[in-house]
């Protein structure tokens, strides 16, 4: 496998289009495997992104009293923008838009900006249910963020670098998922958590009328939904780069392997969405701090010992 190289400047646009296209495909897959849509024909389900887009674009605008329009708009736009900012450091095969020395920290900083994004989406409309959803997200974020950070630390320690291309290169012998399966699982779980997905959808729960999504008028809701799927896509692609060898694989081109592996992780996340009950923040908090965090720290310790022993040998 060749090393990951920085692609030409126009790749910014290409990366954005790929992410949005993959997000739409993930939306179609979600419709196809949604158990509540079994009565609808498969072709109609696969076209759900098209129906949903037209419905939301044509939906009547509604406004809440004394909403903070600026902050509410920021909350609607930020999830998609953050996904696009993240993808700059995520390699596709042997190409990447940008290869900063601290790409991993950049990804982490962008997922932290989601704290603000989801809270603003809840706070902006000046309405009870979104507000409850926004605060639920902060509680959830307190639970998943530290395990996520230590899960990100493990591949960085093993590769001895915060640069994503270096981490991909360090997996030429063996994929990191074999060395640090817990970190990989925690990372993929955190991707679902920061995307408000499946068991982590409590901030957008049906018990609070959709929470942070409740008062998003048509086009804003479209942006948020697109952002959610884009975050899942970028998170899955990052998991491939960090734990599943990036573009490594036989016969096919590196970009094809990245796409295949990303699609598998993404499909698993989408399939699990309606099949795992929602996890309330206080339960999540207890499990995250008393079980997941210590286990992730032990994983990091094991990785560190292996790395030091490997360097000494």
């Amino acid at each position: 496998m060749t090393a990951v190289q920085v692609a030409a400047g126009w790749s910014v646009v290409a990366a954005a289009l790929i992410v949005i296209g993959a997000a739409v495909a993930a939306g179609a897959l979600d419709a196809a495997v949604d158990p509540r849509s079994r009565t609808v024909s498969l072709s109609a389900r696969l076209l759900r992104p098209v129906w949903e887009t037209s419905r939301l674009l044509l939906a009547q605008r509604r406004a809440t009293t004394a909403a903070d329009g600026l902050l509410a708009s920021a909350g609607s736009v930020l999830p998609l923008l953050i996904a696009l900012a993240m993808v700059a450091v995520v390699p596709l095969g042997d190409r990447v838009v940008a290869a900063p020395t601290v790409g991993l920290v950049w990804f982490n900083a962008m997922d932290v900006v989601l704290w603000i994004a989801w809270w603003l989406a809840g706070w902006g409309p000046n309405s009870v249910h979104p507000l409850v959803g926004g605060y639920r997200f902060l509680a959830q974020a307190l639970a998943y963020e530290l395990p996520l950070m230590f899960a990100l630390t493990a591949p960085a320690v093993a590769a001895g670098s915060l640069s994503v291309p270096d981490i991909v290169t360090a997996q030429q012998q063996v994929w990191f998922v074999a060395q640090m399966p817990i970190a990989a699982a925690v990372f993929i779980g955190a991707v679902a958590a920061f995307s408000l997905w499946g068991p982590f959808a409590h901030p957008a729960g049906t018990d609070i009328a959709g929470g942070v999504l409740a008062e998003q008028p048509g086009p804003a809701r479209l942006l948020v939904r697109l952002g959610q799927y884009a975050l899942l896509v970028v998170g899955s692609a990052m998991a491939v780069a960090l734990f599943f060898g990036g573009g490594a694989g036989p016969v096919l081109a590196p970009w094809a392997w990245t796409v295949i592996k990303t699609a598998v992780i993404l499909a698993a996340l989408v399939w699990l969405r309606h099949r795992i009950p929602v996890w309330r923040p206080e339960k999540l908090m207890r499990t995250a701090w008393l079980v997941v965090l210590p286990v992730t720290l032990l994983q990091l310790l094991a990785v560190s010992i292996l790395t030091v022993a490997g360097a000494a040998a």
Binding site: D68, V105, A109, V112, I116, L142, S163, T206, R280, W289
Partner: protein
């Protein structure tokens, strides 16, 4: 630094100061909080331009998270916990203004007046600037600092585990809960379909798009 670099640096500097001023001008707790976050993000950008990529990105990460944590304190301690009503962000107006302007003037004067040393040795490669900055600040004490950070974090986690044996909702005996609450609580116990045939097993699921 190239001319474009200097232009970006100047723009970020203006954003940082303007957002800092906005903190005291806006009448909403949320806007003040995130104006402050934006100010720090601009400062993080300045650090990245000064080739301290790690410190710059970590500044953005820490400050954004800190502002979100402040929002949690807002709901805990404020009389208007949601922060939805317009309210003045100013307490001790004159004192605060004097302290802020004084600090700014002092730091700006310091930055301009200090005789900065000339660069000694070679410029480290981009990947080495983090290590170089760490060694310049901590020197031989770096292993101690790294050790202390692990101990501090372990202390925080253990203190939490000792201080909060139960969650907020865990005091009531199990049977006192409503069936709805139990359904939310137990992941097991899927007992068939709902009378209307929809996917409903007493648990809450991700909402989906059909709404």
């Amino acid at each position: 630094m190239s001319a474009a670099g200097i232009a970006v640096f100047a723009a970020l500097a203006v954003i940082a100061v303007a957002a800092g001023i906005a903190v005291f001008v806006v009448d909403s707790m949320a806007r003040a909080t995130f104006a402050l976050a934006m100010s720090f993000v601009a400062v993080g950008g300045e650090l990245v331009l000064l080739t301290l990529a790690y410190l710059g990105v970590v500044t953005i990460l820490m400050m954004v998270m800190e502002m979100a944590i402040m929002v949690i304190f807002m709901v805990m301690f404020m009389m208007n916990p949601a922060g939805l009503m317009p309210m003045s962000m100013l307490h001790n107006k004159r004192g605060a203004l004097a302290i802020s302007v004084g600090t700014f003037a002092l730091l700006a004067a310091g930055a301009l007046a200090v005789p900065w040393p000339a660069r000694r040795g070679v410029v480290p490669a981009p990947a080495q600037t983090t290590r170089a900055a760490g060694e310049a600040i901590m020197g031989g004490q770096m292993p101690v600092m790294v050790g202390i950070s692990a101990v501090l974090f372990a202390t925080i986690v253990s203190a939490l585990m000792l201080a909060v044996p139960h969650g907020r909702y865990d005091h009531a005996p199990r049977d006192a809960r409503s069936p709805h609450d139990r359904g939310l609580h137990d992941n097991a116990g899927h007992d068939g379909t709902h009378h209307d045939g929809t996917h409903h097993d007493g648990t809450l699921h991700d909402g989906g798009d059909w709404r």
